[in-house]
Every structure is written in C-alpha cells, then in structure tokens.
Symmetry: D2
Subunit: 403 residues, 4 copies
C-alpha cells in the first residue's frame, strides 16, 4: 500500500501543472466568453480545440489508458494527474483527451473491440479526431439496475435494428461526436445478466433522432456536447458493429464502470481543492462587518473541515487505485463503491461552503463554483445513486455475519 | 397566538386553489415550451400575461399589500395564500401580482412615497401595467451589511446624479420593467445609518446600462426578467424622485426587508410541499430492484423527515406573521430572523431528497425540482446569508446574560 | 389553532415558576449531595419527599390528569407547565406528581380501571402515597412492535399466573413503588392485536424477582427507582387484577402512549431551554484565547441554531396538544409521531452543543448537561425508536398517492 | 507513503489478535462482574492484573514506546496494534502497558527525564509495577490554551511548593498510581510559553488532596482509577523532581500531545470496528416487523456509511503515523490536528448508530457501546475541543493566501 508518486508520475505532474498554469487557467475566461452566445450551444468552443492541440504537442495525452495504446500508466500513477485536471473540469480533461465518456468508450473498445472496431473507432478516438457517446440511461426505467434497460437490439439478417429511448447521453450533440455505444437487450428471455449487448452506432445513422439536450440545474453543458435525449427508431447497423458477443453487455458495463467511477472521484478531489482555494482567496480578500471573512469563526470551521475531508477522500481514492492495480477492478469492487459513496457527497458539501463564502457571486457564472457544484451533485446520481451503492455495500458487509 | 384560518382567508384559499388547478398547473408545461428558445430570454412568456389577466378578472390580486391600496389582508391571512403560490413559483406569484421585487417596491411606495410618486409608479404597479426592480446589491462589497453600499447619489441642481455598479437586480431585463428603486449614498460623511437614500430611476434613463444577466446555478430566470448587472454612469433623475428624504435609505431598506423575508418563507413552504408531493408520486410509481421506491426504507425516512420539518417551518412562519400583525415588523425582528435562518436551509434539504428520489430526471428541466432547489439555495444568501442572521440572533440571545 | 395561554394556564405558570425558583433549583445541589453515596442507590432522596410535600401544599399537583380526578387541565394548558418541569427533570416532575411512569399508569387506571382498582391503586397514586411502574419492554424481542411481547399471563382458576422477563422498567426499585402494570399475552392464538392484556401486580408478589438496575450511559437513575430487569416466575395475582378485559392490552398500550409521548416532548423543550441557558451563561463567562466564548462565531452559530430549533419544536408540540384536545389522541396520531421524531433528536443536538461549550465540565456531574443529554438520547429509543415512527409516518403520507 | 504492514508488524498483529481472542474478549464479562460493586470503585479489578501478567509473559508489552526502552516500533508499526487494543478499550491497552496516561508520562520521562528520574519512575512504569497520572487540566480556566494554566510551582529552598486545583486527572485514584506529572507556572512573568514547568509529585505527598472522581456522562471509569479532582495545598517536593528545566513545561506538553492524540485516534478506529461488528451482529439476529433489521434500508445505510467513514479515518491515521516517522511530530502537526478533528466525531457517529440498532440494550451495561460512545464523545473535548483544532488548522490553511 505505497502511495508515493514515482518519478514517472512526478514528471507528468510537473508537466501537467505547467500546462494548467500556462494554458488552461488562462483559457477559463476565454471559454466563458466563447460559450456566452446561447444561439448555437453545441458548437465546440475554439479554445478547447486549441488546448487539445497544445496538449497533444506536449505529450499530455491519453493518460487514462493503460497498456500500449495509451500512456501506459497505472491507476495509481494516473490518479494525481486526473486530480489536477479536475481543477478545471470543463477544459483540462478534454484538453488531454481524458474526458468522459470517451475514456470509457476507448477502454471498452481496447478491451472488448475486435480489430476492425479498433481500427475504425478506437484509433481516431485515441488520436482525438473524433468524440463519442455512451447510450445507456433510459428515462422510463431505473437504470441504476442495468437489467431494467428496455431498448431493443434485434438481429435482422446481417444487421441489428435498434429501438428505444435514451437520455442524459453526454456529449452526443458535440458536432465531433461520430459514434454511440448503445446498450440494449438482444435477448429478453435470457438470464437477467445475459440479456444485454452493446453495439456501435454511428451518430448519423438513419433512425437516430437526437431530440434535445437535458439540463443539469439549468446548465446545458453545451461546450461538451450536452446531455442528449435520443430516440432510436428502427436504427439499423451492420451486425459486425456488435461489441464482443450477444449477452455480454452487462459484463462490459460492469467492466466500464470501475475505472469511470474512480476517474470521476479523482477529478472531484481536484474540484474540491479548487473550491477550497477559491474559498480561502475570498475569505482573505472580502471584508464584512469590519473584518475579513477569514476572521469569522464559522468560515474557519468550514475551511478546516474541508481540508480534513479532502485529505481523507484523497487517501481513499489512492488506496482504491493502488488496489485496482494490484488485484484488478473486480477485486476492488468494495473500495470503488466506497469512493463513489464518499466523494461526491463530501465534495458537494465543500463546494457549497465555498459558494456560501462568496455570497451571490458564488452561484453566478463569474466563478467556477456553481458549475463545480452541479457536477458534484450530479455524481451523487450518475453511475448509480448513492443509495444503491450503500445498499449493495452493506449487503456485502453483512454477509459474513449471516450464517 | 391563534393561527386558524378565518373565513376571509378560507374563501381566498379556495378561490386561489381553484385558479391553481384550472390555470396555473396546466400552464407549467406551456411556460417550459415558451421559454425553450434561448435567443430572446428576456421576453415575457405570453402564458404569464394570460394568467395575470385571468387572475385579475377573478379578483386574485395584490394579496400581499395590507391597507386600502391592496387586498387588505393581514400577514396571517396572506401566509397560506403565499404558500399556495409557492407551489408554482415561476407562475403563481406573478400571476396574482404578488411577485418580488414588485411587492417590496409597492410597499415602499405605499409607505414612504409621496402622492406624485404613488400616482406615477405605485398605481400602474398595483394595476399590473408595469413591473419594477430594486437595485441594492453591489458586486464589490458585502451588501448584507447595507452600510457598505458604495453607489453614489449626488445632488446636482434640481437633479440627482447616480454612479455605481449593481448586480443581481431581479427583473430588470423584463421588458415591462419601467422603474428601478436604487439605493445609494447621498452623504458619505453622515452617521453610518444616515448615509443612504433611495431614489426612483426610470429604466430608460440615459446612463443606466444593463450589462448582462447573472445566472443562478445555470438558470437565467429569463421569464421574470433575470438578474441584471447594471452600471449607473452619471444617470440623472429629477430631485423629486428621491423617496422620503435624504438619509432615510437604510431605514426604508429595513422596513422593506421584514415582509420580503416572510413572503419568501411562506412561498418556500409551498415549494417544500410541492417537492414532497413529487417525491411521493415518484416513490409510488418508480420500480427499482423489484419493488417501488416507496418501499425503500431510506426513501421513507426522507418523506417522514420532510413532513416533520415542513410542519415545524409552517408553524414558525405563521407565528411570525401573527406577531408582525400584532406588534409590527420591528417587534417581530427575532422571529423574522428565525424563519429566514430555518426555512431556506430546511426546504433545500427537502428538495434535495426529492431530486435524489427522481434520479437524473430530478436535476433536469422535466421536473420543477432543480429550479425549486436553486431558488431555495439562493435564499440562503439573498437578503443576507444565513451566517449573518445567526450571528445577529445569537448576539440578541446572549445580551440578557451579559451584565 | 389558538396557542395563547389562557388565564388558568398563566396563573399556574406563575405559581409553578415561583416554586421552581424558591424550591426546585435550590434543591438541585442538594439532590446531587444526597445521591452521591452509591451504596444504597435506590433510596428516595429526602429532598424529593420534601419537594413533593411542598408542591402538594401549594396545590401544584397532578396537572397532567384531565377530568375531575386530576387538575382538569387540557393538554394545551398542561404543555407549558410540563415544559417548566423539564427544566429540572430529576426533581420537578416528581415534585408535582407528574412523573412517568406514574402518570401513564394513573391515566390507564382512570380510563380503564374498575372501581375497586381505582380505589386500591389510583387513589394512593393520585395522593402521592405510593409510586408505580409499567412493565412492557422485554430484552428478547423488539418491543417497539408490541405484538412481539412474549410474557405470558395465564388464567389459572381465580388467578392469573405470570411468566416472563422484562427490563428497563423505570422506577421499579423505588422503595415506594408498590404496583406494576404488566403487559403480556393472555391468548397467543387470538388475532395479533387481541393477544395482550394488562394486569396489576403488587411488587411484593412472590415470583416477582427484581434482578438489577439497567444503566443509561452509565447513569443508574437511582433517585427515581432506576430501570429494573424483572423476572416473573409463576407470579400469581387474583383474576380481578386484570385491567379492562382480556385482549385489550394492545389498545390500552396505544391509549397510554399518546399522552406519554407528548409529555416527554413538552419536558424536552424545557430541557432544551435549560441547556441554552447554561450554554449562554458559560459563553459569556468563560474566556479562551483572549476573549469570551460568546464572541466565537461557532458558538454564536450554535446558540442561534438552538434558538431556532426550539421555537419550532415548541410550536409543533403546542399544535399537537391543541389537536389532541380537539379531536382526541387517535386523531392526533400523525402529529404525535411528528413530535416524537423531531423533539428528542433536536434537543439532543442542542444539549450536545451546550456540553461542548462547557468543555470537560459539560460531561461531568457538576452540570445538569450530561444527564439531560442521556435522557434526550434515551428518548430517541424509548416508546419506539425514531426509525419505527418515521417508517410508519411515511407510510401514511404515501397512502394517498397509492391508488 | 507506504502503509503496508511489514513483517514485524504482521507478526505482532497476529500475536496480539490471538491474545485478544484467548484472553481479552473472554475477560470482558469478567470485568463487568468485578466492577459491579460500587462500594469500592477505585480498586483494580483482578482481571486486569491477570491480563497484564499474561501479556507481559507473551512479550506483548510497551509497543507504544519507540527506541530501546520500549518495543522499538515506529508509529506506523504501532498504529494497527493500537487499533486492535481499541476494540476492547477498558482491557487491552492496560493489559499490554499501552494505556494513557502512563504512555505519555513514559514518553516524557524517556525524552526529558534525567537519569535519576528514569531510574525512580520510568523503570517501574515500563515494568508495569506502578501507574501514574498527568495533572494538567484545571476547572477554572480553558485548559485547551495551556498558557491559561494557573497552578503555581514555586521554588522554596531545595524544594518546589505546589498550589492549585486540577480535575479530570485520569487514573489518579488507581491504588497503583504512585506519581503525578504536574504542569504549573514557575514564572508568571516570563513570556507566555516559558512560564510553565512540569514536575514529578508522588501521589502520597502531603498537601496532595484527591477530592473526588469526575464522571463522564454517568461513568466513573473506576476500573482505571477514574478522573480525579485534586487540590494541591502547599504540596512540597524536592527540586530535583522538576522535569527538564524551568520554563520548558509548554514545550514538553506539546511534545507529549502529538503521540497522545494519534494513539487515541488509532484506538478509536478499533472502537469503530467493534461497533460496526456489534451493529452487524445485531442486525442479522434481531427481528422486527417481520424481518431481520439487516433488511431495513436505513440500517443498511448506516452500515455502509460507517464502513466508508472508518476506511477514510484509518488511512488518514496511517498517513499521519507514517509522516511522524518521517519528519517528526512537529512536521506532522497539521496531520495530527486533522485526525484529532476527524476521528472522534466520526467514530461517535458510528457508535451512535450501533446503539440505535440495539434499542435500549445499546445504552445499557450489557453491551460495550455506551462506554465506547462516552469515550469517543469525551475525545471531542480532551486534548483540546474540536473547535480549537479547527480554528488553528484553518489559520494555517489561510496563511498562504494572506500576503
């Protein structure tokens, strides 16, 4: 259980921090400017394209992906890098091609895709030439229980035909998004965990209707392609677009979730650090009732409590990363659940306090905080609500007491 | 301390509930439709105009204003009516001409305005012909301490000349908004609570520059005219636009705040009730892991806790209303602070749980919840952050122990 | 919903407050002195006997009991009096013969007892000549579900024979305790709510074995007769000791619980007020890091939050009392549950903050606070744990959404 | 930052766990039996003496003390051992001679004592022949600010004469307690942190009056010698009893506190684990409303949340231990504060939930839980209340934002 940064990690950290300082933080007000116009919310802000070019030039790229296809880092090596990108979550993850949902999709293709699929979709994703989306959540069912998924994927000759309704499909309206990985049922009569399959659906396929962008507390997240509601109405794709084999969808989804959850948590740590920074800066500079906020006992309490919480969260995330490296994602299941339970809720609390320290400014577009908050809040729901994880975790804890 | 509804209140409640059922709730999806287009966010959605016409026709109008100019209700009589409007806060308060900031402005004009001011501004506000805004909060100073206000109002011959920067000026971008009540300093050398004055500034006055709308989380609240940042650059108005007299601004602000705070709290109760309703409806209709959410112990815990909290809040608000009627706003100062401390935070908690019960749907535009939440969260800051009220309240509690 | 104190209440309040000031508060250190000796923990401290004599002389007696047998007060009239006694909970309720479990037992006898039972047990209880206990909770079963009660009460000729084990039987070791009301099963084959009966068992009955006193966070509460574990081993009493009729035990228990719960909550309000008083006194008198604790922001936050909570609790309790008077205990079932959920938890929070303000002194025997805390904590369990009440309350709330 | 157990640690853990299983857990009911008699609460229960003999025989001894005098373990090596002893905190720490306040006193003597002092006091403490106490806290002043300490230590010829009042002096009534380390002022005119000194005072010194045992909630902790109030009335000891030099008392106190705090936190982790174990055992075995508590969603939520919290706490404690080993106690000051803030409060929460799961049994003497809770609650005050640590920690966090 050694969490020290090795020399590779340390070197990446320093290069990434330079990139943040020289390019990413200065780009934040530019992004705000470029996204002000709501008439065309789904266009990619030029500043993101520029950052991606710069990052790639610097070799800050694909850190998330282990093995030869990616940067070859372990989870433990990637964790502090992902944390840094979380400090500017609208820009930094996308800049270094480490943004969801592409990351998860690339992992799926790298692990379960065949050569043809890798050539056609993984390669351009790794090169940052295209973006992608992952279509799992459905409005009609509690999608935290993946066996509820109702979208049908039916074999018809050499094709599969897809029918169903999905929503909160992040990134789907990004003009560069070219492909969706769709989860659906190929065999409703199979055992519950063998009914689902995943399939690659080019976004421009006839029958794929992108209906609208879903909001998250008023935010449309248009700079990243939003969160789409999509109707699949007899969308037809060649049978070779199926990933792995029929019935493996549930297993692929499980495999995809582990890294996805820890990446979110790593970035949340960075978001919390940024919020603490903003809170402290505000506290020392803002005067009310004759003294800086920093001298108010209640605000000091928030700062200390925030620091104590974030230290705990980081260690738990590092331990989980270390364990995933050691025993694999499945072996670290409990730990992954633990960070998924602990991190979004604690970070939400920290950001809330940073907002309160800022007064009305804190809820506005002039500070990152409202956006950070909405992201943290959303992650108490995304990839399964807290309650589902707690229920499952308790069941495992209780198991050894049940004879 | 008798909180029973008298026959007047009961009759108004029934008529208002009919109006809600017949017109307001059905208008909610219409409003969503009419505000979907972001190209012109500040236009007044036609459905609001229609509701106002219908409400006025039914005599559901100006309930907030005591005395002959308004509906003549006491605070205790108004409280359950305001609660009902809180159930649909984007539509109902505006529909019956009981929406902030007009209500506070009308109170100011009714109490402190001269005949000419009443004729010119109060009359059309009472008749719903125009809307208005209240320009107090400034970005550069902690405005919860009103003595910090830095905007200058300087006498120049027969005019006053205004310079300064305001923000979060609710409703200022509503095309019907015709006048701003501006708080600023007429005499920076006077004693701290006699430096400020309030003055009426027609919105179209040269030198009044509406710069942009501030967001609350991702919401622009465009349907009500948003929350403007306004620069006053040598804006010049006739001296007779001054309200009351020079130096009375702080006192007027205090007088305005009491009713404003309780109206917010009354509506928050209604918002909480609506959230509980949505939470229960979702819980009985949504199935996860083989049974309705309503059978999950954690969700039951939320529902019970929500019910217990809202019952307490309502009684505290009713008591405060009763006390204001009996001893005046100043005499009820402690109670007004108590409801301002208790209500937004508790209601925010309730709405958060209703959101969690809805999954991703809860944060989206498909349910009222995200908007309700943002309103409740904002009210932990608006009219003074919780911490300022707690500090002041504790000081009063401690006073009798200090010899 | 009129909560004002009428003239009867106001007069009783003033007389009770005088009694508190002149006799009860001065008796607190005397009680501490008299209970210091642990060799004989169950003896009645003389100061309690003296207070009872004085109270009775002053006509401060049996306020809890409505109707001709008691003081004839309504619940709403009794509430503020019970609150006052809660300020010194070891002394005041017992002093005026309004202490549990005697109060509940007297209610049961007044409502369900026959003339003979009233003569033999109710009369001396009303006169304060004897004390009593109520034997319901059992160690082996979750007694919050009364149908679990396993103690057997079997008819044998002209007698009933009792076998079973009870614990946390408050007051049973008080030397003046002469009779136990025992809940048990007379007919295990009847429908679930008709299996139980209640029966009067003189404490000195052969086969009644008082085994030990149960502790509550280290406290033995010996001054009131502790909380006994009792084994009934073929304890035999005449058949006429049965209260009401066979099978009515569950119904009597329900009838007994309503008033019992509200009395606890009324007193908890007084306990909270006492804790706030102690917290404020400490805050103004204790200096740390160069200034009184009263100037620390965090402690001000606690004081304000405590005040806001207790105001809400009191109103909810008063409303419940008023409702019980108006529609009866059964009609006020939801409200009684609400106060049972809200009051102990909130008051526990308040007392915890008062303790923290006191430092180590707060947990010691030198202040009332540790004892107050243990009482409040116990009441999150006694008469049913919070979770059982929340579950039941949510079920009722959800019912109208279930078609 | 490598937290893995090395082979030394692992071997000690296994031997310690065997000792716990074979001797300590079986001794818990024996201890309860031996301490039942309150007539002589300060006698040492024979079972403790027996356990100490057995532990010493097994070489499970003085693990806390680094260097040649002790077991020579690092903080990181000791942490998991201390955690194990926390599972039975009344017995295990004392059994292996790792119980406060002896541990801190031995550290002080080992680091600051001269040869004579080591010979006379440290040797028999290390050998477990005597016990000791540490007399710092005073009733009259906020002792979390050590400069407040008012007890006087005055030079008089070859002696020092001590006058003052102390309380909560843990262990002082243990018949084996032979010496007190007393903190007091030798020079009230020196700079604030040079006024204090520490001095060794044999307990039987004339003028040392042990007045009474202070309670913690209702517990007297008599099995360990309680928490004494002690009056020093011209208690006279030879000048050579002074530790280190005049004026070094504050520095010694600081040096003593770091290890003391982390030892408490290590044991608190073990207490939390024991509470979770008890909670789970109860949950699977207790049936209410037709199913085991383990199937109630709310209880599952508690279990999962407890697990998530304890994992975070343990990592933070391990990191702090590792850092103390690496950079010394002073360099780990922030981390020590962080664990002192986080651990007692979180563990108190966990134990509270375990209690609630047990119903009335949870607050009683039949389970460890009430005692565990009181210990955790006390540690939110002992060695400085949470609020003092938070205030100090925030100041340090804010410092780098203040130009």
């Amino acid at each position: 259980m050694d969490f020290d940064f090795d020399s590779t990690t340390e070197e990446h950290r320093q290069r990434l921090q330079s990139f943040m300082a020289e390019h990413v933080y200065p780009a934040e007000p530019v992004l705000a400017e470029q996204t002000r116009d709501k008439a065309n919310p789904w266009q990619v802000p030029p500043v993101i394209t520029e950052l991606r070019a710069e990052a790639r030039k610097r070799g800050l790229w694909n850190f998330f992906l282990p093995g030869e296809l990616g940067a070859g880092l372990t989870n433990l090596q990637y964790a502090p890098l992902a944390e840094i990108t979380g400090r500017s979550p609208q820009l930094a993850p996308a800049a270094i091609n480490c943004a969801a949902p592409d990351t998860g999709n690339m992992e799926v293709l790298a692990e379960f895709g065949n050569e043809q699929q890798k050539q056609q979709w993984l390669r351009p994703l790794l090169d940052g030439e295209i973006r992608s989306a992952f279509a799992m959540t459905e409005p009609e069912v509690a999608s935290s229980d993946a066996t509820n998924i109702a979208t049908r994927i039916q074999r018809d000759g050499d094709d599969y035909v897809i029918n169903g309704r999905k929503w909160f499909i992040t990134g789907a309206m990004n003009p560069n998004c070219r492909v969706l990985i769709v989860m659906g049922k190929t065999d409703p009569d199979a055992p519950p965990h063998r009914q689902q399959s995943m399939i690659l659906v080019p976004r421009e396929t006839p029958g794929v209707h992108i209906r609208r962008g879903m909001n998250v507390f008023g935010f449309d997240d248009g700079d990243h392609g939003g969160h789409a509601e999509i109707v699949f109405d007899n969308a037809r794709v060649p049978a070779e677009n199926l990933i792995d084999e029929e019935g493996s969808g549930f297993a692929i989804a499980q495999a995809r979730l582990g890294p996805g959850r820890i990446h979110h948590c790593m970035r949340l740590i960075g978001m919390a650090e940024r919020a603490i920074e903003l809170m402290c800066e505000r506290a020392v500079s803002r005067v009310a009732f004759g003294k800086p906020l920093a001298e108010q006992g209640v605000i000091r309490e928030w700062i200390a409590e925030s620091r104590v919480r974030v230290e705990q969260l980081r260690l738990l995330v590092l331990k989980t990363a270390w364990l995933m490296d050691k025993v694999g994602n499945r072996g670290a299941h409990t730990e992954i659940q633990a960070i998924k339970i602990a991190t979004p809720a604690s970070v939400e609390w920290i950001i809330d306090k940073a907002i309160q320290t800022h007064g009305a400014a804190g809820v506005s577009q002039d500070f990152l905080l409202a956006g950070l908050w909405a992201s943290a809040r959303m992650l108490r729901l995304a990839d399964g609500p807290d309650e589902v994880h707690k229920r499952s975790m308790a069941r495992r804890e209780l198991k050894r007491y049940q004879s």
